[in-house]
């Protein structure tokens, strides 16, 4: 952190964002400037997109945030939604149809991007399942990626801090969910931080990345070839080491999901591990559904209810 960006950031805060009550913290995320990219009224609340300079990722990052009507009068719990490969913050907010249920239950939904962007790292845009749009929610250790590709820290540290500092969010009540790679991200975030998230759910998550091509490619790229490093980002492995408050994991999986058939998702491994570890999972294999957001939007209300049960308890 150089002094210049810091000062710039402070200046920006003062000039542009008088709207928000910015408190100065002693942490590393002290200076956080938010730029509103869009704001649309939705179910009496607002679906907004903000841009900010991420200290973790050293780049501008956007995130979508749905502020339910209840947020106008008090603090609301937050559900973090992690999107899948190739997605930006837009996919979920435009396709999942989560706002109605979120408005009903008074839940803020924060929907970050899936990777750093525009970092000019060699090969970051080479493939759709690695690099840009495929951060895999890990903190990269390989030299090439480790400066920017710190999505895990970004999701679990910087973003919650940013949200609770700038929005009427109750930092004590947060949950996490995601789709595909985001499902993997949600599971590992919950499993690696016992108690941090009140509940976790996933749509067609990559349950056992170490055992699937997507995961192997990504982990190899970001973490190197040492598979022991991979284990700390593999939900199925993490389950067996989990110790903490009781989880209640809800997973929906389309039966006609091509990636299920392709062995990218491997939910059975995860279920087996959970059964072994007696971690409660309800896994619903939804007949006829595929991997798309049509599948997600069919069951998103179930998931929001699932989270609401714990967030609003």
């Amino acid at each position: 952190m150089s002094g210049t960006p810091f000062l710039t950031a402070v200046a920006r805060i003062i000039t542009r964002h008088k709207l928000y009550n910015i408190r100065l913290h002693t942490s590393s995320y002290t200076a956080m400037a938010l730029t509103q990219v869009s704001s649309n009224k939705c179910f009496d609340g607002f679906q907004k997109v903000f841009e900010h300079d991420s200290t973790e990722l050293k780049c501008k990052m956007r995130f979508g945030i749905y502020l339910p009507p209840k947020a106008e009068s008090g603090k609301c719990p937050v559900l973090y939604w992690l999107s899948g490969l190739t997605c930006t913050e837009q996919n979920f907010i435009t396709k999942a149809g989560s706002q109605q249920e979120a408005a009903e239950h008074g839940i803020i939904i924060v929907c970050p991007d899936t990777s750093p962007r525009g970092c000019n790292i060699e090969g970051e845009d080479e493939s759709w399942d690695f690099g840009t749009g495929a951060g895999f929610y890990v903190n990269a250790t390989e030299d090439q990626w480790k400066v920017n590709y710190r999505m895990y820290s970004y999701i679990t540290e910087e973003l919650p801090h940013l949200i609770s500092s700038n929005f009427p969010a109750d930092s004590e009540r947060m949950s996490i969910s995601g789709h595909s790679m985001g499902g993997h991200g949600a599971l590992i975030c919950a499993l690696k931080n016992p108690g941090k998230y009140k509940s976790v759910s996933a749509f067609a998550p990559i349950c056992n990345p170490m055992q699937c091509p997507w995961g192997q490619k990504a982990f190899n790229g970001y973490l190197g070839s040492d598979k022991s490093k991979w284990e700390s980002y593999d939900a199925t492995v993490l389950v067996s080491a989990y110790s903490g408050p009781q989880l209640d994991i809800l997973i929906d999986q389309g039966r006609d999901d091509q990636f299920l058939a392709a062995g990218q998702l491997l939910p059975d491994n995860f279920i087996a591990a959970c059964t072994e570890k007696k971690i409660p999972v309800v896994f619903r294999l939804q007949q006829g559904y595929d991997h798309s957001y049509y599948f997600v939007c069919s069951f998103i209300s179930n998931h929001i209810k699932h989270h609401a049960k714990y967030l609003n308890a």
Binding site: T275, V282, F283, R284, K305, A313
Partner: protein, 868 residues
């Protein structure tokens, strides 16, 4: 010495009077204090010279009426007045010593003598003396201090008393001794206290001393006589009591208007010593306002007195408390008085009513008498007329008869005379033949005539016919004047609501107001259905005799009609029977079938049986909400007119209710049935054992089902239509309310079961979930894993659960059309059916392999089920 007396005396006289006098003394003593006359040096002098003065002075005071004292009290507040008054008193003292002394000597001599001789004090003299001494004083005071005018007022009062003195004198005698005793006692026993009283009261003491000594002088003899008695009283309070007793007695004896004189008497009697004492007591109180209240003497005293004074052993309280207590007492007394007033008012109005009634009754009686006597007089007149006319007739008749008889007699005489003449003429005839010829017929004629006897009987009797006058009817009439007529038939009232119980009815009737009835005879018999009127007539009626115009007939049969009629009787006779009225006893209370009652958070289904052999009109259900604050709860709601043996009652959730049922017929409602307690915390149902598969055993409490190990030959089993024949299942009986229901089922990890709901008419020979009339969660063990299915119409979604529920929550919500299953241990939502239930569904339970399921219901639905 005088000081001690002072202390001893206040309590000794009757509290109220003393109090007042005491106040007065306070004044004078106050002055004394201010002037600070040297006490001890003066004492002897006072004893010699001023003694009589002092005496008379106090005497005067003692005469004072209460009114005067009251006024004084007010004036007390200004010290100036006090000063002046004091001066006035002193003046007066000096102005009249001579007269007083003289009088006093005389008085003393006389009195003591008389006392010795008769034990009697001459009150009259006393009074007079009092007057004399006073008057000069009064005049003096008047000049100087208007406030003292009151004295004059009182001065007149004793005059009233005078005439009565003589009568009261004897009674007063008895008091005389007491003061003396008191004095002696107080003097002796309270001496030690003297020094402690301090200097201030000294000047006052002086007065007291003067009086005291002078009194002592004349009283000495008496005192000696009674001294021994006085000595016995070791304590001031003992004396006080005695004194109080005496004065009380005196008061009683004296008439009311003697009150004031009484004061006077006491003063003139040796009582003055006592009262002299009072100033002392007050003297103590002057500097300090009394701060405590002596409970025994009922006066305010200083705390000091409590410690050292005459109230030493008395119980005392704070003034404020005493005042409060007294207020309370007064208030109580007032309340009592108010009550009495109310009672008297009631009584007065009652008397008024009675007055009117008596007046009316007598008026009626007068009318009655008049009427009756008029009747009698009329009858008598009529009778007289009848009699007189009868007599007249008889007279005429008899006279006529007699006359005609007289006429006949005359005729007979004439004929006889003619015959004689004719015979004589014949006899004169000389011609024998001619004579003979003529004589023979003539003789024959005469003979013929004489042959018939002349009728000499009276044709009319001399006796009066009907001479006996019959007064019996008149007498009866006379008698009947005081006897009321036989009453007319009473009017029996129809049955009024709530006038009967299951075994009794209260029958009422009325009479005509003119009737006098000694008692009634009430007849009754049951109305038997299915019998003809004639048959009914044959039954024997029961009868009760009643004085009132109502009767509660006991020992009847519940829910039965009875015919009642009533006759009225008095000494004259019996009235005709009233119309017949049918009364009905209320039914016996119904019996709630508790095993068949079900409930849910917003309603309960109550079932009962009649409890009566014959049908009742309807049933009433009564609800009492049981709250924690009130143990006994009133009926919060009643549902009336229920024609059937069951009712669904809307309730509020989360409450407890006692529910009663009453049977109702025209006679009214029965007693309450035994209650059933309904908790609306959750849905409560029981398993319908009629539907149980024969292999399924139900526990005694009815909530656990077992599927035993043994293989049962299906062929040997006969199935009823209602019994599950293929699936080893049982159905619960849910309350038919389209609301929210929740229950839980306890399962073993390896139990294979089906849990869900089904329409009541779901196929009994099918498997639960295999058709479109049932929905169920199924758990089976495959070689690899636990398999959970959510069956409806034979299909299931693919759902995998990593934790095997031990307790399954089932939530049924008709409104949203959701049937959801939960792992209650984890608060985990497992699956939700979404379907529209066209009919009421009932919980269903089935076991696929030997094992057991236990139903838990009546429990509150957890909150998390709303997130499903």
């Amino acid at each position: 010495m005088s000081n001690e007396d002072v202390e001893a005396i206040p309590p000794s006289s009757s509290p109220a009077m003393l109090d007042e006098t005491t106040k007065e003394y306070l004044f004078s003593t106050d002055e004394g204090t201010l002037s600070k006359a040297s006490a001890e040096a003066q004492v002897p002098t006072a004893h010699l010279d001023i003694g009589p003065e002092g005496l008379s002075f106090y005497n005067m005071d003692l005469y004072e009426s209460r009114e005067r004292l009251d006024i004084f009290t007010e004036e007390l507040s200004s010290s100036r007045t006090e000063d002046e008054q004091f001066t006035a008193m002193e003046d007066s003292n000096e102005s009249r010593p001579r007269t007083e002394e003289e009088e006093y000597d005389l008085y003393t001599a006389e009195v003591s003598e008389m006392a010795r001789q008769y034990g009697i004090w001459d009150d009259k003299e006393d009074m007079e003396m009092g007057f004399q001494t006073q008057e000069p004083f009064v005049m003096v005071t008047q000049k100087q201090e208007p406030a003292v005018q009151d004295i004059k007022t009182w001065g007149e009062e004793p005059v009233k008393g005078e005439p009565k003195e003589g009568g009261a004198g004897e009674k007063r005698d008895s008091i005389h001794k007491t003061p003396a005793v008191d004095e002696g006692g107080s003097m002796e026993h309270h001496e030690p206290c003297y020094p402690s009283e301090g200097d201030e009261p000294q000047s006052h003491e002086q007065y007291v001393g003067q009086r005291q000594y002078s009194e002592e002088a004349f009283e000495e003899e008496e005192w000696e006589e009674e001294g021994s008695q006085a000595m016995k009283a070791s304590r001031g309070d003992t004396q006080i009591r005695e004194f109080v007793g005496f004065s009380a007695k005196t008061q009683e004896d004296l008439t009311m208007d003697m009150d004031n004189p009484e004061d006077g008497f006491r003063a003139s009697e040796h009582t003055h010593d006592l009262e002299e004492g009072q100033p002392g007591a007050q003297a103590g109180g002057e500097d300090e306002v009394p701060d405590v209240f002596c409970m025994e003497c009922k006066i305010a005293i200083r705390a000091f007195d409590k410690v050292f004074g005459s109230h030493k052993d008395h119980q005392v309280t704070k003034l404020s408390i005493a005042a409060e207590d007294t207020k309370v007492e007064i208030h109580k007394t007032m309340c009592k008085l108010e009550e009495q007033i109310a009672q008297m008012e009631n009584f007065a109005s009652h008397l008024e009513e009675i007055f009117i009634t008596v007046e009316e009754n007598f008026g009626r009686q007068e009318q009655n008498l008049e009427q009756h006597y008029n009747e009698v007089i009329q009858t008598l007149t009529q009778r007289y007329e009848e009699k007189t006319s009868g007599l007249e007739d008889e007279k005429k008749q008899k006279l006529e008869k007699l006359y005609s008889q007289l006429v006949n007699c005359g005729k007979t005489l004439d004929i006889s005379k003619d015959l004689i003449e004719a015979a004589q003429e014949i006899c004169r005839n000389e011609d024998k033949l001619a004579f003979l010829q003529v004589a023979v017929p003539t003789v024959e004629r005469i003979e013929e005539y004489t042959a018939s006897d002349p009728d000499l009987k009276l044709s009319a009797s001399l006796e009066f016919e009907n001479d006996a006058i019959d007064f019996s009817d008149v007498r009866q009439m006379m008698d009947s004047i005081n006897i009321v007529p036989a009453p007319s038939a009473p009017v029996i009232n129809p049955q009024t609501p709530n006038s009967s119980t299951s075994t009794s009815v209260r029958v009422c009737w009325s009479l005509f107001s003119d009737d006098t009835v000694e008692y009634y005879e009430l007849y009754y018999k049951p109305v038997l259905e299915g019998t003809t009127a004639d048959e009914n007539e044959e039954q024997d009626a029961s009868m009760v005799k009643v004085k009132e115009t109502y009767c509660t007939v006991l020992n009847l049969v519940p829910n039965t009609q009875y015919e009642f009629w009533v006759t009225a009787l008095n000494t004259t006779g019996i009235s005709p029977a009233s119309e017949r009225a049918v009364y009905m006893t209320v039914p016996s209370p119904p019996v709630i079938k508790k095993k068949l009652c079900r409930s849910c958070p917003n309603a309960a289904l109550i079932r009962w049986e009649s409890g009566n052999t014959n049908p009742v009109d309807s049933y009433t259900v009564e609800l009492c909400e049981i709250s924690r604050e009130r143990s006994e709860t009133a009926v919060t709601e009643s549902i009336v007119g229920i024609p059937t043996y069951e009712s669904v009652i809307q309730l509020l959730s989360g409450r407890s209710y006692l529910i009663y049922v009453r049977a109702v017929n025209i006679g009214g409602p029965s007693e309450r049935s035994d209650p059933v307690i309904i908790y609306t915390t959750g849905t409560f149902f029981r398993l319908n054992e009629d539907t149980a598969h024969p292999s399924l055993a139900i526990s005694e409490d009815g909530f656990t089902m077992f599927y035993g190990d043994e293989y049962t030959e299906l062929n040997d089993i006969t199935f009823s239509d209602n019994t599950f024949s293929r699936c080893v299942a049982i159905m619960g009986e849910l309350i038919p309310i389209r609301g929210k229901h929740y229950w839980e089922v306890e399962v073993e990890e390896h139990t294979e079961y089906r849990i869900g709901v089904a329409y009541e008419d779901t196929q009994r020979n099918g498997y639960l979930g295999a058709n479109n009339t049932s929905w169920c969660m199924r758990h089976v063990m495959t070689p690899s894993r636990h398999k959970y299915e959510f069956l409806h119409n034979g299909s299931t979604p693919d759902i995998r659960i990593t934790m095997h529920p031990k307790r399954i929550g089932v939530s049924l919500d008709y409104e949203t059309g959701k049937l959801a299953f939960f792992n209650t241990d984890l608060s985990q939502h497992i699956y939700t059916y979404k379907c529209h239930f066209l009919h009421y569904v009932h919980p269903c339970f089935a076991l696929e392999k030997p094992g057991a399921l236990t139903v838990h219901n009546g429990i509150e639905a957890p909150e998390y089920i709303t997130f499903s």
